[in-house]
Symmetry: C2
Subunit: 190 residues, 2 copies
Amino acid sequence: MEQQRRRGAELEAALLDAAWDEVHESGYARFTMEAVAARAHTGKQVLYRRWRNRADLVIAAMRHRTGSIVEDLPDTGTLRGDTLALLQRMADRFATIGPEITHGLLSEAPDLDPEIYRRMTGAMATLVKRAAERGEIPAVEVPDRVLTAPTNLLRYEMLFAREPVTPSTLVELVDDVFLPLINGRREGSG
Amino acid sequence: MEQQRRRGAELEAALLDAAWDEVHESGYARFTMEAVAARAHTGKQVLYRRWRNRADLVIAAMRHRTGSIVEDLPDTGTLRGDTLALLQRMADRFATIGPEITHGLLSEAPDLDPEIYRRMTGAMATLVKRAAERGEIPAVEVPDRVLTAPTNLLRYEMLFAREPVTPSTLVELVDDVFLPLINGRREGSG
DNA sequence: TCTCCTTAGAGACTATGCGTCTCTTATCGA
DNA sequence: TCGATAAGAGACGCATAGTCTCTAAGGAGA
């Protein structure tokens, strides 16, 4: 009956594509392994041979689709522009994933990806360092709480707010919170 | 066989207590209606007669146990003390609920309680207003983004951080983020 | 080209648990 | 005393996770 059997990378990509399509059409709550297998024209065992469970498969599908945000950091010439651009990237990525999938994953796989958070802090530190090198801001030490404030607040908004995050949300996070904290450190501890 | 049948408030309290105990012993993922019914020595129908589903029951059980945080606001004499006390109350409450239950509820009942967030913003506004009346800070307008920054960041920490929130987390949120934002508005828009 | 080994594809199977339905009977109010 | 309501008990249908088993496709090696 079957003529061609897929193998290796070709098969794996088809499985991940099917999982991605399925989770977007049905949402995480109605995402079933059976549906993914059917969509990929294969059996469940082919999935379980590669991923231990639903959460693993969904995470792999996300990784397969979305690249890293923090590589190739934005370089607009100002700290404000850089920060806004980075927040915009986060918002864009989140828009392709959605709150429902994120909540589902958090409840089933809470230790999702500690690495992501560390890298984001590093990215913000780089933006601030560059601004200091340009002479845009004084070369002061900035505590991690300040560096992570805009990105953490944005994640909070994306995960809990009912309404979608708008560009003005990002502007407020930068102009009302982040930049005042950076500029306020002019006089103070170093 | 059965001698005494419970009814009304007595029965309802027993059901909510059983649900609360069950969700804490088993966690949200393993929380089953059958287990609650068994623990309360009753049938599932008694539960479904009152709550439409798992999420409804868990939310009701939480409400039955935890009071309001924002009534009787702390009044320590300083904005710093008041804010720390409010954050501590949030942390205490969250410690009795836990991240796993919160995530579970968010994924099954995302529109949990919009009211809570509005009231927390109002509480922060009151603390700031009192401080201004005492002359501790100038009477400037504070944008909502600033008012909600410490509480939102705390919620973010509680929901995503693997490690428990420590007192020093709260101190950092107040001293590195909130108070600098408030004090920085001395010179600036009003 | 033949043979062997891995594993794809297919689907049966077990276990769990939601939510529904039904039945008997305790308890309350009139 | 009687009727209405709902408690307590449990069977039931259904969905789906994850496991197990089988057949045969297709690549690797002789």
